[in-house]
Symmetry: C2
Subunit: 123 residues, 2 copies
């Protein structure tokens, strides 16, 4: 489980800073078979996912992760389920919003995102 | 995707009322290979998971789900990733706490929980 946790940590430490810097940097971690559900909207494929992320209506965003939990996925595949909770701050807002995000990472010459589900929790 | 959503909805509509009524009713949806991470504590196997749930230090609990998102898991297996966000109220408390929970459901003569990650978000 230590290796799983390390892979999850490494992924999260790449994902959110890249998201906050330039969402297009995330292109290579999605593939054509990748799925994203963003606030209930379903998108398939790297191109559509990045287009969605790039079109989100804020200029600046800052994620802060609170928890990162990871487990090995199904036996016989190198895959990991990661659930992240945290806060994000957009543009000039001063009150952070909470978010939850689940990733299913699959290994194939490096890990890519197979499943991605994102939700804001309006506290 | 409609079938996936229906299975997720059916699972959630079973899981939380059963949890709130008697956590031991959840025994049959976990197996020996099931994993749970409960607020960072890792547990493997149906017996340990149910023991953990039954030992949680509240008498009454009421879950209210806010969002349920589901996606098909890896190709070639009948499996579903479900992320739930919601609120829960324990015992005499009047202020609900937010929670996030991710399930990886796998079909084998009915769906069972392979992965389960639970977190409270302290808003």
């Amino acid at each position: 489980m230590a290796e799983i946790a390390a892979i999850a940590k490494q992924f999260v430490e790449f994902y959110y800073p890249a998201f906050d810097r330039d969402r297009r940097e995330l292109t290579h971690i999605y593939r054509d078979m990748s799925m994203m559900t963003w606030e209930g909207v379903q998108i398939q494929g790297a191109a559509g996912i990045i287009e969605k992320l790039a079109s989100l209506p804020f200029k600046r965003v800052q994620h802060k992760t609170t928890t990162v939990d990871a487990q090995p996925s199904l036996p016989g595949v190198k895959a990991i389920i990661v659930m992240v909770t945290g806060q994000l701050l957009v543009d000039e807002e001063t009150k952070p919003q909470q978010f939850s995000q689940t990733f299913h990472l699959v290994e194939d010459k490096g890990y890519f995102v197979y499943n991605d589900i994102f939700r804001l929790n309006y506290a």
